[in-house]
């Protein structure tokens, strides 16, 4: 597992925290690690905490979309939490609306939505 991201099992979901100094290779590696963990732990959801990210470009945006696609295939919903206002504006300007991911304000919020489903 990559040193700058951490994956923790919280209730029935995997909490993935992405650190701000994450590199492109590490975030690609995350796809493999995460898909294995989803299958192994049999979770209902994946929570991607990107509150540490100050910059999200099209590459990271696409990887997030792909992560959502992978977990969807493995029967888990992806929640993106803690997106900063500036990041949200940038993604929208870039035309990346990320329709395949669910979003939540915070970890608590995401967990309560997962419980409701």
């Amino acid at each position: 597992m990559s040193g700058v991201t951490s994956i923790n099992l919280v209730e029935n979901a995997l909490l993935v925290s992405i650190q701000d100094d994450v590199t492109d290779t590490e975030i690609v590696d995350l796809q493999e690690t995460l898909s294995n963990r989803i299958a192994k732990d049999d979770v209902k959801g994946v929570i991607l905490d990107i509150s540490a990210l100050e910059i999200v470009d099209t590459f990271v945006g696409r990887v997030i979309a792909q992560l959502a696609g992978i977990s969807r295939l493995l029967a888990a919903e992806t929640y993106v939490v803690g997106m900063r206002p500036a990041v949200a504006v940038t993604l929208v300007e870039l035309g990346m609306y990320l329709p395949e991911v669910r979003t939540a304000l915070s970890l608590t919020h995401a967990l309560s939505q997962l419980r409701r489903d």
Partner: protein
């Protein structure tokens, strides 16, 4: 001995300074540009004295071979005094014409005194008149520039204030925000609205945002685009967006324009939007038994 071009003008300014000031004031009254409703006599007199002092300083050292530029260091005093006077006058509502005529009125007293000077050759006199004209004209043009710059600043400040005033984000209920949009939504405002909104969502941890467009006159493709982008950004932050206040007229236009609002919820009135929003965060509005 060849006389310097400014010698006669300086003689007048040195010998009859207060006379020029008084007559300058007098001409302003005659031209009808002295606003006694806005300025007291004493104030006008002090301003004119200061200006003339700075002007004569400029004439003394800032004119070489009948050439001068008000941007030179020698004219720094005049620029500074002028900036103060203009600022004062703009804020009291003096018009640009009044301001320019006020400066141009300085010509008359200077001409009169040049004419009255003993033993001045006609050619010299014409040269002096020409120089005074050029100096005072440059002075007047510069005054107008300052005046306009000052106005621009006021307009810019007001524009900024209006921008801030026109995008208030209001917390209607715990975790429910509303953004009443009024007027026209251009790109600059849409940007301001979006940033303001997203920041407030973060601060208040809001889950639902109602964007009310009752007060927006027309919705064209560009406005719709801005609204939908804002809604998308809100969703990315993890909150939900409801657009309310879509009138039947606007609904028709939007369909005719082929605008697809996608997954964004829309309501006709802020009332239904509010009750839906409250439901989403776990509250219901109930009538009391008494009614």
């Amino acid at each position: 001995m060849p006389q310097s071009a400014t010698a006669n003008i300086l003689t007048i300014l040195d010998n009859d300074f207060s006379g020029v000031v008084e007559e300058w004031l007098g001409t302003q009254v005659k031209e009808g540009v002295k606003r006694s409703d806005l300025f007291s006599d004493a104030e006008s007199r002090t301003q004119n004295q200061e200006l003339l002092k700075a002007f004569s300083k400029g004439v003394r050292s800032g004119v070489a071979n009948e050439e001068f530029s008000l941007d030179d260091d020698e004219w720094a005093d005049l620029r500074a005094v002028l900036a103060d006077v203009s600022k004062e006058r703009v804020s009291r509502g003096v018009t640009p014409t009044e301001m320019a005529t006020f400066v141009l009125a300085l010509k008359a007293p200077l001409f009169k005194r040049l004419e009255a000077m003993p033993d001045v050759e006609q050619s010299i006199l014409i040269r002096d008149v020409l120089l005074v004209t050029r100096l005072v004209d440059a002075f007047a043009i510069y005054t107008n520039e300052i005046f306009i710059a000052e106005r621009d600043q006021i307009i810019e400040r007001q524009r900024q204030e209006m921008l801030e005033l026109s995008t208030p984000v209001v917390e209607l209920w715990d975790r429910v925000l509303t953004l009443p949009l009024i007027g026209t939504l251009d790109s600059a405002r849409a940007q301001e609205v979006m940033e303001n909104l997203l920041q407030t969502i973060l601060e208040r941890q809001a889950e639902v945002v109602i964007m009310d467009i009752t007060g927006v006159g027309t919705v064209d493709t560009q406005v719709a685009q801005h609204l939908l982008r804002a809604a998308a950004a809100v969703r990315l932050m993890g909150a939900e967006c409801i657009i309310s206040g879509i009138s039947p007229m606007i609904a028709q236009t939007m369909v005719q324009l082929g605008i697809d609002v996608g997954t964004v919820s829309t309501r006709s009135s802020i009332r239904t939007a509010l009750s839906d929003a409250l439901l989403k965060v776990g509250y219901v509005i109930k009538t009391t038994e008494a009614s």
